[in-house]
Symmetry: C2
Subunit: 278 residues, 2 copies
Amino acid sequence: MYIHGYGERESERLLAQAASVVRLLHGDTRFPPGSRVLEVGCGTGAQTVSLARNSPGAQIVAFDHAIASLARAIERVAAAGLSNVEFLHADLFALPFEAESFDHVFVCFVLEHLTNPIAALQLVKLLLKPGGSVTVFEGDHGSAYFHPDSAIAQRAIACQVELQRRAGGNACIGRQLYPLLVQAGYDAPSVTPRVVYVDATTPDLVDSFTRKTFTWMVAAVREEALAVRIIDAATFDAGIRDLHRAAEPDGVFCYTFFKGVAAKPAHLPQEGSNGRDV
Amino acid sequence: MYIHGYGERESERLLAQAASVVRLLHGDTRFPPGSRVLEVGCGTGAQTVSLARNSPGAQIVAFDHAIASLARAIERVAAAGLSNVEFLHADLFALPFEAESFDHVFVCFVLEHLTNPIAALQLVKLLLKPGGSVTVFEGDHGSAYFHPDSAIAQRAIACQVELQRRAGGNACIGRQLYPLLVQAGYDAPSVTPRVVYVDATTPDLVDSFTRKTFTWMVAAVREEALAVRIIDAATFDAGIRDLHRAAEPDGVFCYTFFKGVAAKPAHLPQEGSNGRDV
């Protein structure tokens, strides 16, 4: 759910998101002591801290291709007093690991940026031991709705979706986790929705999620959206105002993340089967 | 989430819905032994059975203004072997009950049909003892999204929403439960989303919810939508086909219901306050 992965504003937003939604997303994600876990595309480490804290006996290897993000992740994990994470500067499609060298893989807010998420999941599968698991998290901008409803706010959100599409990504990928995991050859995917429901009874979420995560993320594409002329400034700004309107005391905001867990088949599938690696 | 409340097809749909989604919706709705509970607008009794079964010690009074629906509800509750329900043919705005004569009120899929849902909630509040609770359930058609995504399917859904709007209702009312309960003068509303997430791992839900509840409900407005010319037949039919496409093995369907619980203030509010009755 990040755009560039670094930059002061995005970092704040990610941090806000991590603080308020982290339990909903990661509260039930735990890996056993002694297991070796790969975090794909750790970004600024917003999720790495929860991952390492929830699985103190696991050895986590986290990598990202963006050096500035990685530096921030290293700082953040150190500041949290966690010592079970190794960091690596690397690219997903050129990793230095041997096949079948991880027990579990954790992929959070990464697939949405990839032109071929199935290829990424297949590559991850090569790194997993047979029977190992992949855990995937994604948001879905098509799951955003709010009160008061606003067609103009939906148009502003659609700009973010369209720009991410033009960059090769998919901001509405959350709903697709099940077919993606099946098509990548995993066994028995289990997908669960995680709804962030926000009304005035949770003022911390109104601020940290409705305003400082979702609305800021949409607002961040303003200049780019205007530059490619998919919206005019007045409409975009009115849309952002309407998103802030949903953060008023009688407003409501809903957004759904999806968690998918699936296993690498315990026995290597035969060539030509659905589970064939790339 | 019903349209007419009776008719063979709607009954089947409601029954399917009750069978597959009932635990998600009502599993945590229980009223204590000895309490007197009013069910507003019980329709064909699809929810009444769960309500009576989950609270065997409570005395339930269920009413509806549609005699055919009420007859079906009486049959259904008798067939389930439940004896803690009294039925009444009555209209919400002309009920024969004294003020403050119920401990709890249960309102499921009713507010979506009303021109003034706040007035209905205020009326219900008069019937509640101070400190009593109202429990409200509503769906929200704006929460429906699916894979593969389809703008044409969303247009077909929008016909159902538009026709319900022209009939004075609101098919997207679920997200509004919190402000509605506040505006009706209830204390401390607590609203929780209930997501029906459907993929091929739950074939019973694919059939009973995606196909036989949601898609049938949208398909049921075809003639009316064509008659008032808000869509053409080819587009509508293509939209329904795309909804069925989401029920294929690689499809996904999501829909969110909302449950709201709130208390009638224990002490009557002073005139002029937010809690003033109508």
